[in-house]
């Protein structure tokens, strides 16, 4: 089963959290996470069905740009807010 690793800043806890999810794409995995743990993570990552601009999502160490990105059975998804400003 794929896993999602969520930084504490988005998990609402004190430490980075890794949870097992189901799904064959990043979007499905986020939907599964929302059903199991509440919509906070999905809402902080997506907007109008797309990835938000300043949130980075990686699958197995590679940045992905689409919720349709396909997962392997043992993929690790990492969600990481961007670091940028002026």
């Amino acid at each position: 089963m794929p896993e999602i690793k969520i930084p504490a800043a988005l998990a609402g806890g004190a430490a980075t959290e890794t949870v097992t999810v189901a799904g064959t794409t990043v979007g499905e995995a986020l939907d599964y996470h929302a059903d199991a743990h509440g919509p906070e993570l999905r809402d902080s990552v997506t907007e109008d069905g797309e990835l938000k601009e300043f949130i980075n999502v990686f699958v197995d160490g590679r940045q992905v740009q689409s919720l349709d990105y396909e997962l392997e059975e043992d993929s690790l998804i990492r969600v990481m807010p961007a670091a940028s400003g002026g």
Binding site: P7, S84, G85
Partner: protein, 136 residues
Amino acid sequence: MIRFGRSEYDRIIKHAYRGEEAEICGILGGTHEAEQSIVTSVRQAENVAEMPQMRYYIDPEEQLELTEELEANGEEVVGFYHSHPAGPTKPSETDAARATWPGRSYVIVAMDGYPFVGSWRWQNEDGFEQEIVAIE
């Protein structure tokens, strides 16, 4: 409050000096708590923004690499730092528009005079909340 070791504090100021006209940036590792974060490491990152005189942006893959490095060291992301080569001594509108890490510290090194180091925590809809910067 955000606490720096003396050497970590000095490192971000030296980094800001080396940036000259361009903004510099990096990731602060350590322990994070709502009341007090402690910075135990400074990881410099490349500023890949298109206009580095006015913006900073850490390449996502470098950010991932540096984050995994500090996690492997038993640390977590305490926040980020960047410089304002010509001020101001507070977050800019762009900083607020792009802030994404709830509860984390955004440290600014303002260089429009002798260096000023300030820190603000991003509190989502409440915006930036200034915190005390302390040195061990």
